[in-house]
Symmetry: C2
Subunit: 181 residues, 2 copies
C-alpha cells in the first residue's frame, strides 16, 4: 500500500504537497502489519520530508525506540520512502510477478467504484495490487482518474463522512483482510 503526500488536494481543491507526520507513519504501519500488508510506501517528492521519514523509521527500527518498543519496530520496518507513485509501481514490479494494478481510495463514490467485496475477491487471486491513500483533503482528481480501480468509500451509518486517513486506512484494511465473524 502507499500513503502519498503528493499529488493531494487542500480544502479548496488546489493540488499541494502535504507534510509527512509521525503519527500517520506509526498508526498506518501498525494497521498494515496487523493486516499482513507487504510494504507501506510513503511518497513525497520533497527531499527533506523523505529524510524525515527515514529519521522516524530509523528511530524505531535502529535507534532508542527499537529497544524501548521492539514490537513497534516490526511495523515501522514496512515503511519505504519514495519520490513518486510511479517509482512505487516500479519497485513492486521489480519484486513481484508483474506490475501491480493501482487501486485508489476516495471519500466520494465514483461511477466506476468497486465494492469492498469485489476487491477482496480480486486480492484472493494473488496478483499484486497497490492500494493508495492520500493525505490532506485526499488524492487529486488526476490520480483518481488514472488509477486502474477506485475503491468505494467507507460509509458509516450516518451522512457524516469525514474520517481521518488513519481511521479510513484501518477500516479499509479490516474490511479487506480482517477475520470477520
Amino acid at each position: 500500500m502507499a500513503l502519498t503526500h503528493y499529488p493531494v488536494v487542500n480544502k479548496k481543491g488546489d493540488t499541494i504537497t502535504a507534510a509527512v507526520t509521525n503519527l500517520d507513519l506509526n498508526d498506518i504501519s501498525r494497521a498494515a502489519k496487523t493486516y499482513g500488508v507487504r510494504s507501506l510506501y510513503v511518497v513525497t517528492p520533497l527531499f527533506d520530508q523523505q529524510e524525515l521519514v527515514e529519521r522516524i523509521v530509523s528511530h524505531w527500527t535502529a535507534g532508542v525506540g527499537s529497544r524501548y518498543n521492539p514490537i513497534r519496530r516490526k511495523a515501522l520496518e514496512l515503511i519505504i520512502a519514495k519520490d513518486s507513485l510511479s517509482e512505487v509501481v516500479d519497485d513492486i514490479a521489480k519484486n513481484s510477478e508483474g506490475s501491480p494494478k493501482t487501486v485508489v481510495t476516495c471519500a466520494r463514490p465514483t461511477a466506476r467504484s468497486i465494492s469492498f467485496g469485489k476487491f477482496r475477491e480480486m486480492l484472493q487471486a494473488g496478483k499484486p495490487y497497490l492500494l493508495i491513500f492520500g493525505t490532506a483533503w485526499g488524492l487529486s482528481e488526476k490520480i483518481i482518474n488514472s488509477a486502474d480501480y477506485v475503491l468505494e468509500p467507507v460509509k458509516g451509518n450516518t451522512d457524516y463522512n469525514h474520517l481521518s486517513v488513519r481511521s479510513a486506512a484501518a477500516i479499509i484494511l479490516d474490511r479487506l483482510a480482517g477475520r470477520q465473524e
Copy 2:
C-alpha cells in the same frame, strides 16, 4: 462511548494517568460522528487536562477552527469531559432510560469476551451501552474486571496485534455499526 486516560496501564503494567492528545480527540470524534455515536466522553481526573480538552473542543466548535472547518465542528461537539467513568455512567443514566451497561475493549481475549456479532445484536435492542477505550497500554485490569462485558479483541489476519487506540476505535465502530456488504 468513552476514551479514558485513567485508570490505564503503562508498558510495565503500572496504573497511570495518560496525557490527553489533540489527535485522539479529533480522530475518534470524527469516527464516532460517522457511526452515529451519541457522545464521546473524554475521561481524565486531572484538572489541567480537562481544561486542555475544553480548549481543543472550543477551538473547533466556537473558535477559529469552527470557521476554518465547520464539518469538523460537528464531530468535536460530541466530546464531553468528565472526571471519572462513574460520572460518565451517571450522566448517561440521567439522559437515557436507565443506567448503561459498560463494555470494555481489550487487546487480549478473556474468558468472558463477547463477539462483535453478539454486541451488535445487543445494541439493536435499544438499551444504553457505554463502550470504553483506554489510552496508553490499555485499560487497567480493575476496570476490565468490573465491566459488565468485555468485547473480543480486533484480529487482523496475522499474529501482530498492536493497533493504536485511534485505529482500534475506528475498526470497532465499523464492525458494530458500519454498512457491511
